[in-house]
């Protein structure tokens, strides 16, 4: 009897459980923080150390997984006969690795803040365990976002990434600006989530399956068919738009970006740093997966009427971000707009893949360019926000004026900030240039010359506002006394600057080479639609929309 019951449950086999190891690592970290708080008492130090250990451990699991996954193309958790719920392939492993690396960096930044920032450190330390549960929770959500092709899991993953983020944005409860930022974030997130859920429910209603690859195939056949009514095509576009709204929110693509500046300004600086990179990286990962799996087949079958959509989104996002950054006086806000602009640059890689014709060799360089860009962007933002944090903790202000005379008051921090800023512009010899150059190469290769022009024009715009900070640091000195910053913080930002310099010249070749190698393993995700026929899909034989319209 008991055996019969046990048999009626679906039990994943051990291989599959091991395959999703990186996700266990992050989920385990959450549990460990909670348990440690119960057993050892509430201690911020313990929680932060557990977070760093968990992140490192997960990164290590990623490393051990990578070669095994590379052989078998993918490993995942799929219910018997169903399409995979979780899919830990090289793509996912790369992004989880980056997320873990960044999680450890942000935790380090938090520790520096807790040790120096007298005003807030008491509350900081008291609520450490909650903070880290939420932080790791959002990291877990981001890891899920990049390791699934199931629409239900996508919704859950985005919520898993978003809900804890809302809470950590408003973590300083006494801070009115933080509370307002958090509320804005919640409302915006709720609306976009609703749009996405709506889009996904439409897709599920049309096709009776949640598997993205399956839907991609069906969508492309339906759109390619000549007898598909215009209304049906419009509905599919609406559904896809809804899906994109949810992801656009995560990467703050225009017009889903309005939350970004307020949230970045209101949240504490560690949280801002976290969101500026991790949230965007995960969102881009998910977007690329969907573009490659769902939408790329569109290009195979016919001349895609939506072919310039992603390119337009990218161009507008980039331009709006850069133009809106001009009048900002708060460095955090300025960097928020800069992160919107960079999301635009990165979306350009998505535009290439979206338009890639089958058999063309443009998609691999695009993936490689995106990988290079995200890696360099991670360090640029870590450095820029890290310097801003150090200045904020030393002066109590994050306005551009607070940076005045920094070249004299704290030359090393100023130098690190300069490197990060001009790397963000995309000037040689910094890593930002290599990233942008490789992206431009990929754009050029797929004949998107107008996007090249947009990207370069934007670089010129951005030079102006980034150099305003450089101006304050070196050209305008209000004679305030020098200050010292914690050694660990200095080491962090200088390390980021050194990595940017290294990726700019000496190891640029190695970085691009690795990224290319990696991308060639990644790209087959689009072609990988040959899973065992899903039971659910077989049961509800999808009816073409054309046949489903009213008599």
């Amino acid at each position: 009897m008991l055996l019969a019951i046990a048999n009626s449950f679906w039990m994943p086999d051990l291989d599959a459980v091991v395959a999703i190891g990186p996700l266990w690592g992050l989920a385990g970290t959450i549990v460990a923080i909670v348990l440690a708080a119960l057993v050892l008492g509430r201690s911020a130090a313990v929680s932060s150390v557990i977070t760093i250990i968990g992140a490192t451990l997960t990164a290590w699991i990623c490393f051990t997984h990578a070669p095994r996954v590379a052989q078998s193309a993918w490993a995942g958790l799929a219910p018997a006969g169903g399409s995979p719920m979780l899919l830990v392939d090289n793509f996912a492993i790369l992004f989880i690795l980056l997320i873990c690396l960044f999680l450890a960096c942000v935790t380090g930044l938090w520790m520096i803040g807790a040790s120096t920032n007298a005003r807030e450190s008491a509350a900081h330390l008291r609520n450490g365990p909650e903070f880290f549960v939420l932080l790791v929770g959002s990291a877990f959500g981001m890891a899920l976002m990049v390791s699934t092709t199931n629409l239900l899991m996508i919704i859950l993953a985005i919520e898993m990434a978003s809900l804890p983020s809302y809470a950590i944005v408003g973590f300083q409860k006494r801070n009115r600006i933080a509370a307002e930022a958090s509320l804005k974030y919640v409302l915006f997130g709720a609306v976009t989530s609703a749009l996405m859920a709506y889009g996904i429910s439409l897709l599920y209603g049309f096709y009776g399956t949640l598997d993205v690859n399956e839907i991609g195939r069906l969508v492309s056949t339906e759109l390619a068919a000549t007898d598909t009514p215009a209304a049906a095509k419009a509905l599919i576009s609406v559904a896809l738009f809804g899906l994109m709204a949810g992801i656009g929110f995560k990467i703050s693509a225009v017009p889903f970006h309005f939350w970004c500046p307020d949230v970045f300004e209101g949240a504490s600086i560690e949280v801002t740093t976290w969101l500026s990179v991790a949230s965007k990286a995960a969102g881009l990962g998910l977007l690329l997966r969907i573009i490659a799996a769902v939408l790329q087949p569109l290009a195979e079958t016919f001349d895609n009427p939506l072919s310039t959509t992603v390119a337009m989104f990218a161009a507008v996002t980039c331009t709006v971000g850069n133009l809106a950054a001009f009048p900002q006086t708060s460095v955090k806000r300025l960097l928020a707009y800069s992160s919107i602009a960079h999301a635009g640059y990165m979306l350009m890689a998505g535009a290439i893949i979206w338009q890639a014709k089958p058999g063309s060799d443009v998609a691999n360089p695009a993936f490689a360019a995106l990988i290079v860009y995200i890696i360099v962007y991670l360090f640029m933002n870590l450095g820029a926000f890290g310097c801003t944090a150090l200045v904020y903790w030393a002066t109590g202000s994050e306005k551009i004026e607070a940076f005045r005379g920094l070249g004299r008051r704290s030359p090393l921090i100023a130098a690190a900030m300069t490197v990060c800023l001009f790397s963000l512009v995309g000037l040689p010899p910094f890593g930002g240039f290599i990233a942008k150059f490789y992206l431009l190469m990929a754009l050029f290769k797929s004949n998107l010359v107008w996007l090249v022009a947009v990207a370069l024009l934007n670089s010129i715009f951005s030079l102006y506002f980034y150099s305003r900070i450089a101006y304050a640091m070196y050209f305008a000195d209000d004679g305030k006394p020098a200050f010292s910053v914690p050694a660990f913080g200095r080491a962090l930002v200088i390390a980021a600057a050194i990595v940017i310099l290294l990726t700019g010249i000496p190891i640029a070749g190695g970085l691009i080479g690795r990224a290319n190698q990696f991308a060639s393993h990644l790209y087959p995700i689009a072609a990988r639609t040959t899973f065992a026929e899903p039971q659910a899909a077989a049961a509800k034989d999808p009816i073409p929309l054309a046949a489903r319209s009213a008599p």
Binding site: V34, P79, L134, G137, G141
Partner: protein, 169 residues
């Protein structure tokens, strides 16, 4: 003669009536708490319709999430934000006009869909097994992973909510 053939229409019109009259009540009443109460009637009536369609789980969710959760949230929201619970609605003309327009457009669209569909019943819902069992099976088999992820999500969110709601010291 099957009891369903005469009982079903009666129950249907009963629930439909509740939905309809409560909806009209929401529009007409000026008292915000009363409007909330009427909303309960509408939501409950829709739940009843779901029961009638043998969509047990959906009906239960309707009652738990909307009637139980959302409505309570609305009432709390009203009571926490307004100075007295007897606040009265005073929609301006433009607001009323906008609401009417949207309502009419929505009604027209729905009416077109309803009249455009061939309502021939293909299979009687009673032939299907109970939905709760089906959903339960799916949740613990095919959708075990999302189910577990949702539980992690709830754990984390609960911790966040507890933190935000807890008074400082």
């Amino acid at each position: 003669m099957n009891v369903n053939t005469w009982l079903e229409p009666i129950v249907f019109f009963l629930f439909a009536g509740v939905v309809l009259f409560s909806a009209i009540g929401i529009v007409l009443t000026r008292n915000i708490v009363r409007a909330a109460l009427f909303l309960l009637g509408t939501l409950g009536g829709v739940a009843g319709l779901y029961f009638l369609l043998m969509a047990n789980l959906l009906a239960a969710i309707q009652l738990i999430v909307y009637a139980g959760g959302t409505l309570v949230l609305i009432v709390f929201g009203v009571m926490l934000t307004s100075k007295s619970p007897w606040v009265r609605f005073a929609p301006s003309r433009s607001e009323a006009a906008a609401a009417t327009t949207i309502g009419l457009v929505l009604f027209a669209a729905l009416a077109k869909i309803v009249t455009g569909i061939d309502w021939t019943v293909a299979a009687h819902p009673a032939d299907q097994p109970a939905t709760v069992r089906q959903v339960g099976n799916l949740l613990l088999q095919q959708y075990l992973v999302p189910f577990e992820v949702a539980s992690v999500l709830l754990l984390v969110v609960m911790i966040g909510a507890a933190y935000l709601a807890r008074p400082e010291n």
